[in-house]
């Protein structure tokens, strides 16, 4: 089991990208990754050398995110300790473009299964067949989720993105 940690380490950048795409606050995004790793580590005996460690980790991460999102939709957001001790606002990152912000916001309104597929294809640039294998769903399901996700995003972003893309700050 010693290589379990090494295997997880290889997946870490991907997990973090994924979490940071979904969760705006970097601290909370990393907390999500941390929770995912804790759970993975604790349940590592359940993994039993299935080759699909990436899919397993992504599923854990996404379930944690989806559960938290459900919870936070009707309860106040969890205050991280830094927020409690310091002014609560997290200044937006300077490097983040407006369109990325808008996309992230729109992304958060998608159902979790669509978020997952859109991130894996759009951000991770994975092939459709890879996504199907990773999530253990038929490729037809991948495609229909992708279609719905993109179309919904397009409608949501139709008003917000285009004007802001031209705005110079």
């Amino acid at each position: 089991m010693d290589d379990f940690g090494r295997l997880i380490e290889q997946e870490l950048p991907r997990l973090r990208r994924y979490a940071h795409a979904l969760v705006k606050d970097p601290e909370r995004a990393d907390d999500l990754v941390q929770d995912c790793l804790e759970r993975a580590w604790r349940k590592s005996h359940l993994w039993v050398r299935r080759t699909n460690l990436r899919g397993w980790l992504m599923t854990i991460l996404h379930n944690l995110y989806a559960n938290a999102a459900r919870k936070h939709s009707h309860t106040p957001t969890m205050v991280s300790l830094d927020d409690a001790a310091a002014p609560p606002a997290t200044p937006p990152s300077q490097t983040e473009t407006l369109s990325a912000l808008a996309v992230r916001e729109a992304l958060q309104t998608l159902p979790p299964d669509q978020q997952q597929v859109l991130l894996l294809v759009g951000m991770e640039q994975m092939q459709y067949a890879e996504v199907a294998e990773l999530l253990r769903i038929p490729i037809g399901t991948v495609m229909s989720r992708l279609y719905r996700a993109r179309e919904r995003m397009r409608v949501l972003l139709a008003e917000s993105t285009r004007p802001t893309l031209r705005r110079v700050k």
Partner: protein
């Protein structure tokens, strides 16, 4: 100008967006889009989504992430904390206890050390009928002074009345790396929760709340600059979350550690 027969499938259009099409197909789709402006707009919107999603790939530099150490896996969960065995080993002291102690500490992430010790202490003392605490809440002032001195840092005993829990008292515990304090609270129904404080190396930033679940038992833990904290109890996550915030805020009013003051 175009082949009127070519009508790309939805999958082809998306594969075009994702640059998955072979050259010939890609050209065909491009020609099709040139003749179908509304479709072209839709596909362009999808491409912009991809570009923006690519923009999300950048990880914040300001937040380097360190992977917890994953070392030889001791199945500490399987050590079955619910059984008496762990408590017996822990309490056995001497050879057995020390061996287990040394074995479990080596190369393990700090949070795991904290959670494990807190959970064990909880499992050991919460069922206790006769001596759940070492010093009762009747001597709270003494309890606080004593534990502050032993932990080498000011100890605040949070009040959890608002959450329905009254302080029963506390005790000093052997732990790693330094001694630990455990405070026990009880509600009107006799449910007990424990707050575990572990003296820990200084100079770190506070972490945020993290949660671990083991059966019905939930643990919320965080690591502060002078101490690590864990709250353990059988309660819904929301309730534990509320208590944790309350505890944190009360602890946060602590003055900066001045060991000399004690």
């Amino acid at each position: 100008m175009t082949e009127p027969t070519f009508q790309p499938s939805e999958e082809q259009l998306h594969a075009y967006v994702d640059d998955f099409l072979p050259e010939a197909e890609r050209m065909a789709v491009e020609r099709y889009l040139a003749d179908h402006p509304s479709e072209a707009l839709r596909i362009e919107a999808y491409r912009q989504q991809n570009a923006a999603l690519q923009g999300l790939r950048a990880l914040p530099e300001a937040h380097p992430f360190t992977l917890p150490e994953f070392r030889p896996r001791v199945r500490w969960r399987a050590v079955a904390l619910r059984t008496a065995a762990a408590a017996v080993l822990l309490l056995a002291g001497g050879g057995g206890g020390w061996w287990l102690h040394g074995h479990l500490e080596r190369g393990r992430p700090l949070w795991m050390r904290l959670v494990e010790q807190a959970e064990r202490a909880h499992q050991t003392f919460v069922p206790e009928v006769v001596h759940p605490v070492e010093v009762t809440s009747a001597h709270e002032q003494h309890l606080r002074t004593w534990l502050s001195r032993r932990l080498g840092t000011p100890v605040t005993v949070p009040v959890l009345k608002r959450h329905g829990y009254d302080l029963m008292g506390g005790r000093l515990l052997p732990a790693s790396p330094g001694p630990a304090a455990q405070f026990m609270y009880q509600d009107a129904q006799g449910n007990r929760l424990t707050l575990y404080m572990l003296a820990a190396p200084t100079g770190r930033r506070d972490t945020s709340f993290r949660y671990v679940q083991d059966g019905a038992l939930r643990i919320c833990y965080w690591m502060g600059q002078t101490m690590d904290f864990a709250i353990t109890g059988e309660m819904p996550r929301d309730q534990l979350d509320g208590i944790a915030k309350s505890v944190y805020l009360q602890l946060n009013h602590m003055k900066p550690p001045r060991v000399g003051a004690w």
